[in-house]
Symmetry: C2
Subunit: 637 residues, 2 copies
């Protein structure tokens, strides 16, 4: 196996170099800018999250400042900054500056910057690392500051936050304080800061936090011991505080290099693994990378919903045992699916393999964007795969991590489309629009024309500044069963140069060259591994990357009474008006014929079935119309 080399890693093409010009993502970005980003700001203001930076315990809202409020505002700045880069908006820009001023005003003499521990519990600074979200908030402030600088060129926020990072570096590290966050986040943020500034101490600190994790006994054991009993509620709730003190909930049960199974809180896990992957590549650490690969495999082979959702249990907002993927009680937090996209995207740069891109695509088109309503103003925290009609998006949550998280991902989704390397260009996702890559010392414009995800025909114009030799790597999605590729009209043998799910076409590319790719998109019936008990005897309808569901409002009977015969004829119908424009799947299935049931609870006559028209809609669009039952997994005959 080749050693991990930083110089061989791909570089993701930043979203600022990618223009999305399609009917799927481009309008989502518009809605994100026009509705989601402002809505989140309003909520942050209304709930006292902005006012908290005035360092009052509450700002007339009746709410008390909360340990993770700073992160909500930071993620909003990150989302707003990204959005600004694509949609210039002076009003928004000055609003961001105003919030940054408020944040800066809170910074303490020593560089420290956290509203909660400044206002509410100054005596507990760094004393509640397990559940206090202090380093977590710091991580989000760092990400926000990096984003703000990169998209506006303004240095104020970055300067403030570097002072804070420097202060944190003065507190934690070898020969300094031994500790790390209960909720990972700062690890990945510090690598971003390192990459921007070139300051190696940020990378070192990130590595320190990673390497100290999983000591035995956990540092959180003595931390808990030093807290008054009434401050240890979360320790008692989420850790096993008995004889075998266990902090699996926050992936602190083993040194990260020794971890094999994805455990505990799913968002914590994703942010941790993201950080591990980044530190692995920056330090060329094969052992750390091997751990990432093991954990990746464990998640995607045993613990992932067909929507890309992860973390099946509400109890720990996280992982349980392999193949435990209940549908109605699925937690599948929006933030966890977003975290999986982050992790997939990092892995993809380290070791180009379409399995990473497949999962990234699966989550993006399904379990991530299900998290926000089509109008951009309501959010799912948990994304079940079955509902009795009682699960709906909300405008806000007390713990509001998901709304700004989806806003920042949406605003920067262009950054997931392409990667570049010395002499290779990569197309991971098919989206109409352009990407400006640097390949072989050249600026190379890739221009995609496609109706993806509704149609699998893609035409890519390759436009290098000057004719130049490089490999164009085209992802062959895992869902496709055959593919046809034509270069300037001539078919190529896809298999010859396929590697790890990418078809590599190496040639001297010159302006005017075109590549046509055709992935037929039949309607597929997807089955789950038989170890997933809840899905036995059920199928999912999938077409291209889109996972479908049955919503009650489209059916003649309750979705729970529908059975899909194996030979049922299904059609695709494109409806431009419905749900922002979607391809529907329609057909005739069977339903229980309940007409001759009266009030008997049990009876010994045969079950009668009747034909029944069905209409399936993309999962991500559910709960945007009248409330009702929903099912992703359909009973199958």
């Amino acid at each position: 196996m080749p050693r991990l080399q930083k110089s061989c890693a791909l570089n993701a093409v930043p979203f600022t170099k990618v223009a999305l010009e399609d009917n799927f993502w481009a309008c989502r970005l518009q809605i994100n800018h026009k509705y989601t980003v402002p809505a989140i700001y309003r909520k942050c203001k209304e709930t006292g999250r902005i006012g908290a930076f005035l360092l009052h315990d509450s700002s007339g809202t009746g709410s008390k400042v909360h340990p993770f409020w700073d992160s909500d505002v930071a993620k909003w700045i990150e989302a707003a900054s990204y959005s600004l880069a694509v949609h210039p908006d002076p009003e928004l820009e000055s609003l961001i500056d105003d919030v940054i001023d408020k944040i800066a005003s809170v910074q303490q003499e020593d560089g420290y910057l956290n509203t909660y521990y400044t206002v509410a519990e100054p005596e507990y600074r760094w004393k509640k690392l397990a559940f206090g979200h202090e380093l977590y908030c710091a991580g989000h402030l760092i990400e926000a500051a990096v984003a703000h600088y990169q998209t506006t060129g303004k240095t104020k926020f970055l300067d403030v936050i570097r002072r804070y990072a420097d202060y944190i570096d003065s507190v934690f590290g070898s020969g300094k304080r031994n500790g790390y966050p209960g909720h990972p986040e700062i690890e990945l943020a510090l690598v971003k800061l390192y990459r921007l500034t070139g300051e190696k101490r940020y990378l070192n600190l990130s590595k320190f936090f990673l390497d100290r994790r999983g000591q035995s006994p956990s540092v959180f054991k003595s931390e808990m011991g030093n807290l008054p009993f009434e401050h240890t509620k979360f320790y008692r709730r989420f850790f096993n505080t008995g004889e075998n003190f266990n902090t699996q909930y926050c992936q602190d049960h083993l040194p990260v290099r020794e971890q094999v199974e994805a455990v505990g809180h799913a968002v914590r896990a994703m942010y941790l693994y993201f950080g591990m992957a980044d530190v692995a590549v920056e330090t060329e650490d094969d052992e750390l990378f091997a751990a990432c690969k093991r954990l990746w495999k464990d998640i995607t082979k045993k613990r992932m919903y067909v929507t890309g959702g992860i973390g099946s249990s509400t109890d720990n907002e996280g992982f349980t045992h392999p193949y435990d993927l209940p549908n109605r009680s699925a937690y599948a937090e929006t933030c966890a699916a977003i975290g999986l996209v982050f992790f997939a995207h990092r892995m993809l740069q380290l070791a180009p393999d379409s399995r990473y891109a497949d999962v990234m695509e699966r989550a993006l088109y399904n379990g991530v964007i299900s998290g926000v309503s089509l109008d951009g103003e309501k959010f799912f925290y948990d994304n079940p795969l079955e509902s009795r009609g009682d699960h709906h998006r909300q405008e806000w949550f007390d713990c509001a991590c998901c709304p700004p998280n989806i806003a920042r991902l949406m605003a920067s989704v262009g950054g997931y489309v392409y990667s570049q390397a010395e002499s290779d260009a990569y197309v991971h996702l098919y989206v109409q629009g352009t990407g400006e890559l640097q390949v072989g010392g050249q600026k190379v414009l890739l221009r995609q024309k496609t109706d993806y995800p509704w149609n699998g025909r893609i035409k890519i114009s390759v436009e290098p500044e000057q004719a130049t030799m490089f490999g164009l790597n085209l992802r062959i999605p895992g869902w496709s069963r055959k593919v046809e590729i034509r270069v300037n009209g001539e078919s190529i043998d896809v298999n010859v140069n396929s590697k790890k799910g990418y078809s590599r076409i190496e040639r001297e590319w010159k302006s005017g060259d075109t590549v046509e790719i055709i992935f037929p998109m039949p309607i597929e019936r997807i089955a789950a591994n038989p170890a997933v008990r809840k899905d036995i005897g059920h199928v999912v309808l999938q077409r291209g990357p889109i996972i479908y569901c049955l919503e009650e409002c489209d059916q003649e009977v309750s979705p729970s009474q529908i059975v899909l015969p194996i030979d049922a004829d299904l059609q695709i119908e494109f409806d431009e008006e419905l749900l922002g424009g979607v391809a529907l799947i329609t057909g005739v299935a069977k339903a229980l014929d309940t007409s001759d049931w009266h009030d008997e609870l049990y009876r010994n006559t045969a079950i009668k079935m009747k034909p029944c028209k069905i209409t399936a809609v993309p999962y991500y669009t559910w709960d945007n119309r009248s409330p009702g039952e929903m099912r992703v997994w359909i009973r199958s005959l």
Copy 2:
């Protein structure tokens, strides 16, 4: 509709007049006598329940005396007394006398008799009616005393308990204290005491407890208000103690005559309805009887498992919403199924109708006897209809209501077989053996010869002392689709004289007359009402009254992977050795062919099925062999 008249009600033939001589119940009664009754005594002693009557707070066991301990011992006395009547056993008789002496020694000057409120909380006598189990324990003591007197003729225990009942009557009643038990039981016990003694005040007190129930506001509201906060845990846990103070948990939300839906804790509900039915007939109260009929209908049409289990939720050990009958998480407490048998049996005497007997039979042969292991020494508290192999019978429970409850029912099960009336004999259950009835002023012996429940042929010899005219009423089970009846070899037209599920044969019966009944017993596939979501697409195998299940140890693959095609050929095989002798259902079904699944979590190839032999065993026998998965509801094609 005919008015309820006490003189028209049937009288159940007591178990002391019924000899069971079959291979099903008779050996269960033996095991109950030989193993279950002694095992319960041992546990009562080990855990301090017997010693508690020495009025120490604990008796060297480390356990603290508990509010419902008295009831466990009382139910043991009831079970042991019944068992004694059929299996003379001087050693057991003197053991019972010894325990009765201990109980008697605890009686206070004023007649009061409760270990917990004498030893542990004397200051709370009658102050915790909602959750204190004080009147509940009194009820069980009364039932035990009645049983002991009826089976031994000894008066000591009855005298003690009558003094206690008289004392309770001096405390509660019109113009006295306004209150009633949170856990009904004393209501039905007082009717038993009234029937034995003829003392009307016991009936009046029972009626008082029933009629006071469901006041607004509940008496439990002020009761809670008078308790220190730390004593109100259960009120806060099980009642809605908010603005709309609601005591639905113990059927105290409405006056009993106005209740329409079965709500709350299932055992409380059954004991309440049992008491209501008894008071209804004794006082010829049509309104109360109408309430019983409504509640019966609600339970059996919307809230009953196919095993006769009721109370689907662990949370309240009780009822939830109509048709909410999950299988794996089914609570279906053994005591609740027993309570349903009690309630059914009372209703059957008031208004002979095979619907009552059908439910009684369903519960007895399935969800009741599943509660005890075949060796008689281990017990299920909850009786799920699906298991992953992690649910097993235990020797005992801290809250040990189920073991002595099943022991007392088992020892007296003969009492559920026959009823008698002025000029009618009723056969409700088919069991080999004899019943000695009083009909038309005559002693009439009914002698059944049958292999029921394994075979639907029954031969009944009718043996009156002298030839006499009366109606012999034979139950036509709800599960049977056709029936043939021959009197002295000649077929009769069953439909002519069938009424409410009983075929009435009126004639002058003389010794030597025989009746043959043939119910064909094909293997039936039972479906649930489509409103039971969890059972859609599933069937249950039933033959005669027996509900079957798939246990993992009998199958080639996991029961969760088995699908039963609608045309699968199924056979009956009688195995005399297995599980105490059972009829097995065998056949070839289909199973997921998992041979070509590797580690993919999802894939788009068709699901392959392979033939798979299956063996189903009676539900009541499950978990008596090696632990493993179990399913009652089988997926069906």
